[in-house]
């Protein structure tokens, strides 16, 4: 009886402390492919709407408000599948490793993004986001035919050398 208790005590004391010091210290390591809260890069986003098309919980919403495209990410119902990051052609959406999303207000989890739309000089309609136009010289699209007289801010080269 006593011997068995002593053996038990020996096993108990031979083990090290396993409790993690979290939240006062580091927790368990986050794995390589862990998908946390998503991040949007407005510099890269062209406003194509592919992410809104594939999102299973339909949390990405697009609003066309004249000269701006407004995107809303209602991340409280995000299922962290990462499909939006997969389909994004410009890799504007990335899944970060942030998991500490605890909050007392749901709107803390929202992301709002506004993209500026360029207007056609001929008809005066808004047709494409600023970022998408910036891609044209670098992605070998034909200029001056499809987008007649699009205004080019950010000092984009007017000539657009072929092959660049």
């Amino acid at each position: 009886m006593i011997v068995s208790k002593l053996k038990e005590a020996k096993i108990c004391f031979s083990n090290l402390r396993v409790t993690l010091p979290y939240p006062f210290g580091p927790g368990a390591e986050v794995g390589e492919g862990f998908r946390g809260k998503l991040k949007v890069d407005a510099e890269k986003c062209v406003g194509c709407g592919g992410c809104a098309n594939v999102c299973p919980s339909r949390l990405i919403r697009f609003y066309d408000d004249g000269e701006q495209t407004r995107m809303e990410f209602i991340l409280d119902r995000c299922t962290y599948c990462g499909r939006c990051a997969e389909v994004c052609p410009e890799n504007a959406i990335t899944m970060t490793q942030t998991f500490e999303t605890a909050t007392n207000d749901k709107t803390d989890l929202y992301i709002e993004q506004e993209l500026y739309m360029l207007t056609c000089k001929r008809c005066g309609r808004c047709f494409e986001t600023n970022n998408a136009i910036d891609r044209i010289p670098t992605q070998r699209m034909r200029r001056g035919r499809n987008f007649v007289g699009a205004s080019m801010p950010h000092g984009a080269p007017e000539g657009g050398e072929p092959g660049k």
Partner: protein, 166 residues
């Protein structure tokens, strides 16, 4: 203010009652994970109790289905004041992929008032623990609403509409 209020209202241990309102059991397993010695939520005095009448905190998982909603309202009424409600998991926060389902309310906050939201599908045990720490005032919350505007400089915006009507 919330910190002061929580510390005033709950000077001692938080006793939690865990209820599953149409969750897939993923969040429930993570809650059980938090109570294991590895994460050891009992450091903060958190104890799982078997009755809502003993509880200070309700841990609600799952987007609330129509079947369970009256029971959840009764449960909320049975918990003595002051009480906190934690919505754990994306289903409880906003309904996840079931947000517009005919059988689900899509979020605990549509049925009973919620104090803290822990998003994740399922949330990591650390995330739940962090939510508890935020509620107790031990840690600050790390997320805030982001508003991003990608507008060019004001000088770059020309007004083609005006040219058109010349």
């Amino acid at each position: 203010m919330i910190k002061r209020w929580t510390q005033k209202a709950f000077p001692k241990s938080l006793w939690v009652y865990h209820t599953n309102c149409a969750a897939c059991n993923g969040c429930d397993i993570e809650i059980i994970n938090v109570l294991t010695p590895y994460y050891d939520a009992e450091r903060f005095g958190i104890k799982l109790v078997g009755s809502p009448r003993h509880a200070d905190v309700l841990l609600v998982t799952g987007g609330v289905s129509r079947q369970i909603a009256p029971a959840l309202r009764r449960l909320y009424a049975a918990t003595p004041n002051p009480k906190l409600v934690f919505a754990i998991g994306s289903c409880a926060c906003g309904g996840d992929v079931f947000y517009d389902s005919y059988a689900m309310y899509g979020g605990v906050d549509k049925v009973i008032p919620v104090n803290f939201y822990v998003s994740g599908c399922p949330p990591r045990p650390e995330a739940i623990l962090y939510g508890v720490a935020v509620a107790l005032g031990l840690a600050p919350k790390k997320v805030a609403k982001e508003i991003i505007r990608d507008f060019p400089e004001a000088a770059d915006i020309d007004v083609p509409m005006l040219e058109l009507h010349k």
